[in-house]
Amino acid sequence: MVNIIWLALIIIGIFTAAIQGNLEAVNLAIFDGAKAGVTISFGLISILVFWLGMMKIAESAGLLKIISRILQPFVAWLFPEVPKNHPALGYIVSNMTANLFGLGNAATPMGIKAMQELQLLNPTKDQASASMSTLLAINTSGLTLIPTTVIAIRMTYSSANPTEIVGTTILATIFSTFSAIILDRWYRSRQRFRKNQ
């Protein structure tokens, strides 16, 4: 999919420029684009280094564990089919905590471990179980509290107030995650209804 998009952008771009007779724009664009890619990545270094440092402190101080404990009843409600002390719940909570703090690199391995545990509970091995669908819904709706990458990009391009979008982002995230949970619940009860037919 990504291959198609990437090829399409470049080929359509070169083709359009050729037709409109401004091919020099393409030559400039290649070098400007490459430079921008590096500039942005370098801009990410500062925030990532700082944030990961803070997260390590949070982890060592036991803060992440406490947040996990606060999330536990909520997670139990979201995943009713998973038995109470099943390891899947622990991984799910870690996955959500990592997501909340923008630790995508930690969230993904935790999410995969959670999926593996849920697969053990899955009655239909090649089809997603209700719990798996819910876990997926939570992850794809974006659960980040602090959008560090976006803030870093804004700083790179000299925003007067890089963090002003944090409030709006959190609010939008709440809506998208909330809608994901609601729709997921609806599909769930529909599937249960069908199974009981």
Binding site: S41, L48, S60, G62, N105, A128, T140, I165, A172
Partner: protein, 176 residues
């Protein structure tokens, strides 16, 4: 409402940092050494992004500078104006569920061209931060355990992305 959003934007990072430091001191964590230990990974992660981002930024800059993007947004604008959706941000809405790097590159490009503090820049920022790459996550998570039939998960994911995009539009339009 506006005051609440402003307060959150202003306070959440300092509050979070203070909370972490209080907990660390309470539990006698050697803060600086721990910080450095975690911080080291940040550099590598940012460096690893370079090849992905360079590839995408070249593609997007070529697409934009060739005039192709302007043709596309020009075509979409009459329709999108009906719902007050800035046409420039539309490609981001489409790419966001498909490719994480593509979305990052488009957001960066929009901020570079229109400014971080423009409506376009703020909308792109909010959309980028509030949604995630649905198709990629489905592929990775379900692929890791061999699930072939994803059922309704895709629909829920894309619906969430849609809600996030619409919510971002409404919230950003009202707040700024």
């Amino acid at each position: 409402m506006t005051q609440i959003i402003s307060a959150i934007s202003l306070w959440i990072i300092p509050a979070l940092i203070s909370l972490i430091i209080v907990f660390a001191v309470w539990n006698r964590v050697p803060v600086y050494e721990t910080f450095v230990e975690g911080a080291k990974d940040g550099f590598q992660i940012a460096i690893n992004i370079i090849p992905h981002l360079v590839g995408m930024m070249v593609a997007i800059t070529v697409f934009r500078e060739s005039g192709a993007l302007e043709l596309l947004t020009g075509y979409l604008r009459p329709f999108l104006n009906l719902i007050n959706f800035p046409a420039e941000v539309f490609p981001l809405a489409i790419i966001r569920p498909i490719s994480g790097t593509g979305a990052l590159a488009i957001t960066s490009d929009l901020i570079a061209v229109h400014g971080a503090d423009s409506l376009v820049g703020r909308l792109a920022s909010t959309m980028q931060g509030s949604t995630d790459t649905t198709l990629y996550i489905i592929t990775v998570y379900f692929g890791a355990v061999g699930i072939k039939k994803s059922g309704y998960a895709v629909k829920v994911g894309l619906f969430a992305d849609l809600v996030g995009i619409i919510a971002s539009l409404i919230i950003v339009s009202f707040y700024f």
